[in-house]
């Protein structure tokens, strides 16, 4: 099937793509010279501190800041009342859709009620962090404590404590007639699921639960805000989207976007958690009130308690198959928590749960549920990992019951070009079959695993990968170096992957492009870094930019040779015409010599649709039945990258996603006590995997070109977190015969399951 947006060039002999040049930002990073937000120092700068709720759910009766304000060195205190009136205001924020500004503001500074422990209530700016800390402790907040709820199914009950008295369940525009914590009910249906299950010879149905986990970025949220006398607001911040940050802050403060300048600093991880604003508008308010720049940096406990985890979830998945392994029907019922405010990850969760398979009959119900946790945020392929944990275990169990190899069962039912997803759309060219075949032919899968309590598991995963607006510009220096300014904040090495696509287009070396991320006044609008979109969408902009620069270089060469630019040919960066020949660098050098116009190019694009990335993971584990501890012995991640622009980066993304997914699988979770307070808000107690916990994660890159990109790029950052929990669960089952249906599969949880079975 021809793709509607067929842009793939079919190029085979890449000069730059597929190579592994030294990353452009490498020296700054390894020598500690890269500037992060916390490094920014301004004259007369104040330090801000947030006052946070000690309760999971409470009404704010009063806030008294008089004692704090009377302290020497205290300059300003702000509360929710310092925001403009945002009642009934919504803002269209690019690809993020419409955002409820009242709720966004209330997540930054609580209004009327606190909805989770750690919810920001007030903020103070003082001469130094110590005074700010002490002043924060002197801001008196009187609460009326309310009943709270953190488990998603409890929050759905009719008698659950209500977070928002006005909230009615929305079912595609139809509102329920009574208040509920269920914000949204989604439903997808394909074929006739009742008829489908009647055709099944084998049916497997199971229920699954997952705990909330955090994105776990190493750099805490930080911002420096400077509200100038001319009403211009400048923000230095760690964000996944400088333009999205600009718009959120402008909308929350009800000022024009052009009044806000966002300077994206280097970022120490985001994974979806640094898209929404927390500190930025608060620091801006403090700066406006105090007349001084204000820096705010979260502590780790504030990151855990006050910023977005990914949803905790409940899933019930049922699949039916014929004896030959053909899937005939599927049914899923998913409930994801969204934390304090509506708008979680249930949509993509529902769309992903059966996305790997061609199901003739299927039905998916999904519920977005408010509870007393921080507002959930995206985390690499948001919503898909929880869904895959359920579906991929049911697939595994079906394979076992049917005595069919788990890869063969997946191959038999794999989604491919032309497959209609349960949510409706039909896939264009995708690479799931190729990933499964790569797994089947891998040395890992073919190798023998022996030993007591050892087992091998396999699972698949999918993420859409989105498009969206991207801009970049570049100028050509006299020495032939191209200075590239792009709008995508770099959270995963995209400066290099964008620079390489520009270099490839121009036929020059990657090292001859100097990429930098521009601030919001220096480059055209660029949607956030997320959705695995940057190497695809900003890469497409870089390709267009390369064509623009190439055309201009042709014109300069034509001026030098006194010929028609259309008569000039370009091959691998060498410009030729009727016996003349100059390289890109030689033309660049002749531009000033010949008093020609400087070469400055620009491109902006807004590709739509999804680039559809599939992955397959294999794990070997050993279970200690005495303790329930799982040791990952060997792990292989296989993924369709479309085209691996910089294979080391692709491998790194696959390894990083797998490592985070293994952490999600085996240890990570928010522990809540009886008062719904998180009790492990530190890296000491929130158990992320370290290099001592993991084997080398092997990678196999599959390249099935994306038809909607000239070089076939799909994006790689999110899919690798999807398969690991199911992969590990399937390996545990193979090792000890116990089906783990709850995350994390921590030693106590597995030990309990093994003990109950015994």
């Amino acid at each position: 099937m021809a793709h509607a947006n067929e842009l793939y060039l079919g190029k085979q002999d890449y000069q730059v793509l597929g190579k592994r040049p030294v990353r452009h930002d490498g020296t700054d990073k390894v020598t500690g010279k890269a500037i992060y937000t916390a490094d920014v120092q301004l004259p007369n700068m104040l330090h801000g501190k947030i006052v946070r709720s000690p309760h999971a759910h409470a009404r704010i009766k009063s806030i008294d800041a008089s004692e704090a304000l009377a302290m020497p060195g205290v300059f300003a205190v702000v509360t929710a009342d310092d925001f403009p009136d945002l009642t009934e205001k919504f803002a269209l924020m690019g690809e993020a859709g419409q955002v409820n500004l009242t709720e966004l503001a209330a997540n930054c500074l609580a209004k009327g009620k606190v909805l989770y422990r750690g919810h920001a209530v007030a903020a103070v700016a003082a001469a130094n962090v110590h005074i700010a800390d002490e002043a924060a402790s002197k801001i008196k907040v009187e609460y009326e404590v309310l009943p709270s709820v953190t488990w998603v199914l409890d929050a759905m009950k009719d008698d659950a404590p209500l977070l928002h008295e006005h909230l009615r369940t929305d079912s595609m525009g139809k509102k329920a007639d009574k208040p509920s914590n269920i914000a949204v009910h989604l439903q997808f249906e394909k074929g006739n699921v009742t008829d489908g299950f009647q055709q099944a010879d084998v049916i497997v149905e199971r229920e699954f639960r997952t705990a909330s986990v955090h994105q776990g970025y190493i750099e805490p949220h930080a911002v420096v805000a400077l509200w100038n006398e001319d009403s211009r607001l400048k923000l230095w911040t760690a964000t996944q989207g400088s333009f999205n940050c600009r718009q959120q802050v402008a909308e929350l403060l009800q000022i024009p976007v052009s009044q806000v300048l966002v300077v994206p600093c280097e970022i120490g991880g985001g994974f979806g958690g640094k898209i929404t604003v927390y500190l930025e508008p608060v620091a801006a308010l403090l700066s406006r009130k105090s007349g001084r720049p204000v820096k705010m940096v979260m502590q780790r406990n504030e990151v855990f308690e006050g910023t977005g985890p990914t949803p905790g979830s409940f899933a019930r998945v049922k699949l039916g198959a014929k004896k030959d392994g053909t899937l005939v029907a599927g049914e899923a019922w998913l409930a994801y928590d969204c934390g304090a405010f509506p708008g979680g990850m249930i949509g993509p969760g529902c769309m992903c749960v059966f996305s790997c398979y061609d199901l003739p009959h299927a039905k998916v119900d999904g519920f977005d549920v408010c509870n007393n946790k921080p507002k959930t945020q995206a985390y690499r392929a948001p919503g898909s990992t929880q869904a895959a944990f359920a579906c991929e275990q049911v697939i595994d169990e079906l394979a076992e019951k049917l005595n069919i190899d788990p890869i063969e069962l997946r191959l038999k039912n794999a989604a491919k070009e032309g497959t209609r997803r349960v949510d409706g759309p039909v896939y264009p060219r995708v690479g799931f079959v190729e990933c499964l075949n790569a797994a089947k032919n891998s040395e890992h899968w073919k190798s023998k695993l022996s030993g007591k309590n050892r087992g091998r598991g396999i699972a698949a995963g999918f993420w859409f990968n989105i498009g969206g607006a991207s801009s970049c510009s570049a100028s050509v220096n006299d020495d032939g170096i191209v200075c590239l300014v792009e709008g995508s904040t770099d959270i995963g090495g995209t400066r290099t992957s964008i620079a390489m696509q520009l270099a490839e287009t121009l036929g020059i070396a990657a090292e001859d492009v100097r990429p930098q991320v521009g601030d919001t006044d220096s480059v055209g609008y660029t949607f956030l870094t997320g959705g695995s979109r940057v190497t695809f969408a900003t890469g497409l902009a870089a390709y267009q930019l390369g064509l623009d620069l190439q055309e201009q270089m042709k014109q300069r060469a034509a001026s030098i040779w006194d010929c028609d630019p259309t008569s000039i040919t370009v091959d691998k960066g060498v410009y030729k015409q009727n016996g003349h020949s100059l390289t890109f660098k030689q033309i660049a050098a002749k531009i000033p010599e010949n008093q020609l116009d400087p070469v400055v190019g620009r491109a902006s694009v807004a590709p739509e649709g999804s680039t559809n990335a599939f992955g397959v993971h294999i794990a070997d584990v050993e279970v200690d039945p005495e303790t329930g501890k799982v040791t990952v012995l060997r792990y292989t991640a296989i993924q369709d990258a479309g085209k691996a622009v910089h294979p080391s980066y692709v491998e790194g993304q696959m390894q990083g996603g797998a490592a985070q997914g293994i952490g999600w699988a085996l240890n990570e979770e928010y522990f809540f006590d009886a008062k719904d307070q998180m009790r492990n808000a530190s890296f000491l107690d929130y158990r992320m995997p370290t290099c001592l916990d993991l084997p080398m994660i092997d990678t196999i890159i599959v390249e099935v070109p994306n038809p909607s990109h000239p070089y076939g790029v799909r994006g790689v950052g999110e899919t690798p977190i999807v398969p690991p929990p199911a992969t590990i669960a399937n390996a545990i089952h193979a090792a000890v015969g116990t089906r783990m249906t709850q995350l994390p599969m921590s030693p106590p949880a597995l030990w309990k399951a093994l003990s109950e079975r015994a």
């Binding site: 509607a4 947006n5 919504f90 269209l92 690019g94 690809e95 993020a96 859709g97 419409q98 409820n100 079912s171 595609m172 525009g173 139809k174 949204v184 009910h185 989604l186 439903q187 997808f188 249906e189 994105q215 985001g270 994974f271 979806g272 958690g273 898209i275 708008g343 249930i346 949509g347 993509p348 529902c350 769309m351 945020q377 995206a378 985390y379 690499r380 392929a381 948001p382 949510d423 409706g424 759309p425 039909v426 896939y427 264009p428 993420w463 859409f464 990968n465 989105i466 997320g530 959705g531 695995s532 979109r533 739509e608 649709g609 999804s610 950052g717 999110e718």
Partner: protein, 87 residues
């Protein structure tokens, strides 16, 4: 004529009809045509002159956020889906 896949929760308005061919060169025109046939559906899909919050359109497997002005070809498939971001 483009074929519109009716979202499952809206089939109460279409008497169970799952797919329907309607005229229209844009998503907005398609929705207007749907409204003529199934009164009430427009208010479920739109808020004012925009798609409802949290909704996007998929035209021939390409998800788009261009909303009501998105072009629709005579042989197009139209789906209304939740918006997707990413991490």
């Amino acid at each position: 004529m483009p074929v519109v896949f009716i979202p499952t929760p809206m089939r109460d308005l279409t008497d169970g009809v799952t797919e329907v061919n309607v005229t229209g060169n844009t998503v907005g025109e398609v929705i207007d045509a749907l409204e003529q046939r199934f009164p009430g559906i427009k208010s479920r899909l739109c808020r004012g002159d925009k798609l409802a919050p949290g909704l996007q359109v998929s035209i021939d497997a390409t998800m788009t956020l261009r909303g009501l002005r998105t072009a629709v070809a005579p042989a197009s498939e139209v789906h209304f889906l939740p918006t997707i971001g990413g991490g």
